[in-house]
């Protein structure tokens, strides 16, 4: 954990599916996460602007890297966590962001809107919608829900489902500005895929950090389509 000092925090949360089906690819996933951290720390400007947290999920979820500056993070070895419960992932994220906000606010820091990168190779095995609503739903008219809703960028491969990824990235309530992006691929070359996703996320984080150049509001720059991936467009009838 870096030394506490009040700052303007641009938070990114990387949520990784480490269910049983990811077992053969855990080394590649860990490598991809390490490369992502390296791409951020190689730019001192971005390293000073953004903070990252890494969460893994399976049957349950856990925070493997608490929110911190990339240069203060030791690349983690993510644990395998069994099933594929999106609800566990989103609940873990919800609790983590709440705790991070409280911790950083106590130190005098201020938050920009969080961004979540959600990587999964499977379909959800649980009823996850309630957890999703808890962290994403917000009504600007009544001010009910989570004002600090994140932008979600979802990456699916393996058995991941297009409709579910769309729901994650394009919830059709509240302000449009929360809309992220969803990508899917049928590629079986998971090591190369993870590397490309990490690269795309790294570019997104770096671009987002740069978007705050002088007076301009830093904003999440959603990633471009990675090699071999298909962009899923929003549908009007989601939820």
């Amino acid at each position: 954990m870096s030394e506490d000092q009040a700052g303007l925090v641009m938070p990114f949360y990387i949520i990784c599916d480490t269910s049983g089906s990811m077992g053969p690819h855990m080394n590649d996933l860990n490598k991809a996460v390490a490369e992502l951290l390296n791409s951020i720390t190689s730019d001192p400007v971005v390293d000073g602007m953004v903070m990252l947290s890494i969460i893994s999920f399976g049957t349950g979820g856990g925070v493997d890297v608490p929110l911190d500056y990339a240069s203060d993070i030791t690349p983690p070895t993510l644990p395998g966590r069994g099933g594929t419960n999106y609800g566990a992932a989103l609940s873990t994220y919800g609790e983590a962001v709440k705790a991070d906000y409280a911790r950083l606010k106590a130190g005098g820091s201020k938050f920009f809107r969080p961004c979540v990168f959600f990587l999964t190779d499977g379909r959800p095995g649980d009823k996850w919608e309630q957890s999703f609503n808890d962290v994403v739903r917000y009504d600007p008219d009544t001010k009910q829900g989570n004002k600090m809703y994140p932008t979600i960028v979802a990456y699916g491969f393996g058995q991941a489902d297009e409709g579910t990824l769309r729901k994650l990235a394009y919830p059709n309530f509240g302000p449009d500005e929360k809309r992220g992006k969803a990508f899917i691929t049928q590629s079986k070359d998971v090591p190369a895929l993870l590397k490309d996703i990490a690269s795309a996320i790294g570019s997104s984080v770096v671009s987002s950090g740069q978007s705050g150049s002088g007076g301009g509001t830093p904003m999440t720059i959603v990633p471009q389509e990675a090699e071999g991936m298909k962009t899923l467009e929003a549908e009007e009838d989601i939820f």
């Binding site: 870096s2 303007l8 906000y101 007076g215």
Partner: protein, 331 residues
Amino acid sequence: MPDNAHGVPILGVYPRVVEISQGEPPQQGWPVDAAVSACGLDGLEIRAASVRGFMHRARNGPRQDAFAIQKGDDDSVLLVVCDGVGSLQLSDRAAQLICDTLPGLYLQTRDWNAAIAQVNDRLRELEQHEQDATGSTERLMASTVVACRVAVTATGATVSYARIGDVEMWTLSETGWTPLVGAAHDDDGLYTTRTSALPSSDPVALIGEAMIDSGALFLFTDGVSVPLSMGKDVQDALAEWWTTPPDPFTFARQVGFARRSFMDDRTAIGVWLTPTETVEPVPATADAAIEPPDEDLEGAGEEVQPTSDPDGNDDREPTLVDGTDTAGDSP
């Protein structure tokens, strides 16, 4: 000092951004990376500096802040600080145009609203010209502005000011830093840099007056005021540096301080109240007794008390004399 190749002091945790290079030569000759000025009046000592931030240096972008100092009427001085809106590519020109024209227009009208309306028209003309030249209909420029007239009195100084956007005025006294005209950056817990700015379809400024009887007055862009408001150590350092006016080059280096996560351009104008020259007492005559002294203004020697704030920043705004801050028209 210097603590690094950029020659700026580091406040707090080591910020890796001081490791970046000086960057490539700019595409245009102006604005230069840093601007510095120093001057004084009987009773006032003034320092000003504008420094390109690390983010712009790293991305080869221009400094978008600007400032102006101009002699005013009746031994006063006019001060302007502008912060070009970073998301628009020609905002440095908007900031500079405001600095070039607002003091003169104010001297013609003695009315901040009228002067700002004229500056707004000129900005709209410039933006339209640039849009026509490029075939664009997009917004190309915008800038926030805080401007004031400072006049010395027998007990301190009167400050008549106007502000649009998130530029700020603070005072520094023996009790520390106090925001005189502040800005809200929180939106229910989320930090935002949304701000009103010129040009605007409805250029309404926050206008007011204040009295200062000791210490110093500062005009800041948010590159200075945000880290100042968020860090006690920043407040302590800047208070120690600026209890008395430093030499102008030291002042510029200090304005450009490095601090993790704060990489915006920085601009500050400091106005220190200094003892006025001793004036020979005028023999008491009937005529002299009738003539009211300049300093005999209502409320002279007292700071205007804060009232409710249109931005929701209780305790941060002095009495509104005219107009309100505008929340709309953010670029």
